[in-house]
Amino acid sequence: MIDPLFLTEAAINGLLLGGVLALLALGLNLIFGVIDIVWIAYVDLVMICMYAVYFLVQVYGYPMWLGGIASVALGALLGVAVHVLIISPILSSAPVNQLLATGGLLFFLQSFATFLWTTDHRSVRLTLPRLEILDMPISVARLIAFALAVLAMLGLYLFLTRTYVGTAIRAVSQDREAMSLMGANPQRVYVVTSAVGGAMAGLAGALLIIQYAVHPFFGAAFGPITFMICVLGGLGNMVGAFVASFVMSEVIAISGVIWSTEMGYVIAFVVFIVMIFVRPGGILARRS
């Protein structure tokens, strides 16, 4: 039998991992829901932002907050670039082509990062205070990431519901054709969405680099689980994706302690597959 203390620790670690996953899923889910395209290379954009923060903070010695802002700006730029250069020429092609174009981007970013920075693992070393609750060490970096992820989700929610542009984004995600009949230009909404989605990638990158080492295959490690969370939460459903992040992270953390890390992911994927069958609209969707 496994010590309940281990399980509690795993559950808390899962909760904190959930914050990270939620952050990753947030931006991707926005793009997914509005433009209806799966950016397979989304987490690879995060990887590029992580490298940016690494070089700014660890190599050139700029303060962390500056690195974070630079990362968000870079993410937004990359998001717009991906949309304008790759997505918009193929908006009307078959979905498989759209998927593969961003898949090509995945290969491109992964190998370009290998070429520029080799496969070494690099991390930013911040001196953060240690925190212990009931003899259980809690990672402060993860706690900060968790808090900022919650704040970012709140911010995104307010942006989507309280601003004019946000309303336009929601309108396009509901009915693309009707929006263009109303005289609105979906293209502009797409660019804004890509920029916001990219900025989320930048924020995720800045928060991830303080707890994980970055390497060119970082995207491959976190990519699949991020897509699963988006689908599990329901496409474009922000709250659903948030809940799904924690469901998945708890599954990974707890089965990781009981069996092994790989088995943790295996079980998470199996949970995803089963959930798709029983609740295709996402965990929070009402059955019609």
Partner: protein
């Protein structure tokens, strides 16, 4: 004899004679590249059996992995000949494909969702292979136990030409299956299902039966390709034979070539392998990652500018030309 047939005959003759052409030192290497092209074209063809009907699988690595690992492990641990091992592997793959395809069909998982479910399936198999490292060698992979001499029973030969002809026959068989399916009623049924499932069901097409059938066929053929590749390379690794990377590579090659035509997957696979090999030789050990970077870039450019695939686009162009020339001739007559 039409010109097209003469060209096809000449190309086939060249393919049969290729291993005996005096290519000097590069012969071994040329044969190696050609064997890979044949095997991966076969796998690409197997994928396109599903892909062309809108069942975009992003997890064919799962079937490759099951095929390759089942045969290899049975041979390594129990000394079971790969010929029987392949039969077992095909059965296992078929059962697994039904397990995946039945709920997908039952709950109408299509489009993006189908892609993501299969992607998850591919990752599950890759992670299971990594997790069961006592048997499978984990992410380090496992070598097919050498028989020590040329052996038909072990499917091991020192001479690459044997593999060349085996892969060539496999490739032809793949084309034949594709062609037979293309001419069958199943194709019309699958196209109807791809367009609109409800409408297809309303005219009496058994949607689930066709979808599961095509998935099983595609999966089993993919497993055969995986077995062939494992026997040829005599080494299996979860990253080259399962998971998202290899699954995407298969789809790339097919979409690049064009998935709605008989030779599309072959053209796409030949081009991607040739490109990858050329870049690998060009850069060698310098600039690690540069070859793959260019590969990724070329893929994006091709998908943006040639959405119907290379072979498909060229064929459309050739078809349009004679039609455009014939039209004015018809009006004057």
């Amino acid at each position: 004899m039409t010109p097209a047939r003469i060209v096809a005959g000449a190309v086939l003759t060249l393919m049969v004679a290729a291993p005996f052409l005096p290519l000097g030192v590069s012969r071994e290497y040329t044969i190696h590249v050609l064997v890979q092209i044949f095997i991966w074209s076969f796998i690409g063809g197997a994928w396109s059996l599903m892909g062309r009907f809108g069942l975009t699988s992003l997890g064919h690595g799962a079937f490759l992995g099951i095929g390759a690992y089942t045969t290899t492990l049975l041979w390594n641990f129990f000394g079971l000949t790969p010929w029987l091992g392949a039969v077992v592997a095909m059965l296992v793959t078929a059962v697994f494909a039904v397990v995946v395809a039945y709920p997908c069909s039952r709950f109408q998982v299509v489009g993006h969702y189908f892609g993501l479910v299969t992607l998850a399936v591919g990752e599950v198999i890759r992670l299971l292979i990594v997790a069961e490292r006592d048997w499978t060698g984990g992410s380090l992979g496992v070598t097919v136990r050498p028989a020590g001499h040329d052996s038909v029973l072990a499917m091991q030969f020192a001479d690459k030409r044997v593999f060349y002809y085996a892969a060539f026959v496999l490739w032809l068989a793949g084309l034949l299956i594709w062609w037979r399916l293309d001419r069958s009623m199943a194709r019309s049924a699958m196209e109807a299902i791809g367009e609109d499932e409800t409408a297809a069901a309303s005219v009496g097409i058994r949607v689930s039966r066709f979808k599961i059938g095509i998935t099983v066929l595609s999966a089993v053929l993919t497993a055969v390709g995986g077995i062939a590749y494992a026997q040829y390379i005599s080494y299996v690794n979860p990253d080259t034979l399962a998971g998202i990377g290899v699954s995407l590579r298969i789809v790339f090659a097919v979409v690049l070539g064009g998935m709605y035509s008989l030779l599309g997957p072959t053209v796409g696979t030949a081009l991607t392998i040739a490109l990858a090999e050329y870049l690998r030789i060009l850069f060698g050990l310098k600039f690690i990652g540069m070859a793959e970077t260019i590969y990724g870039f070329v893929l994006i450019v091709f998908i943006i500018f040639l959405p119907a695939g290379i072979y498909g686009s060229i064929r459309d162009l050739l078809r349009r030309r004679p039609a455009a020339l014939a039209a004015p001739a018809g009006t004057t007559a």
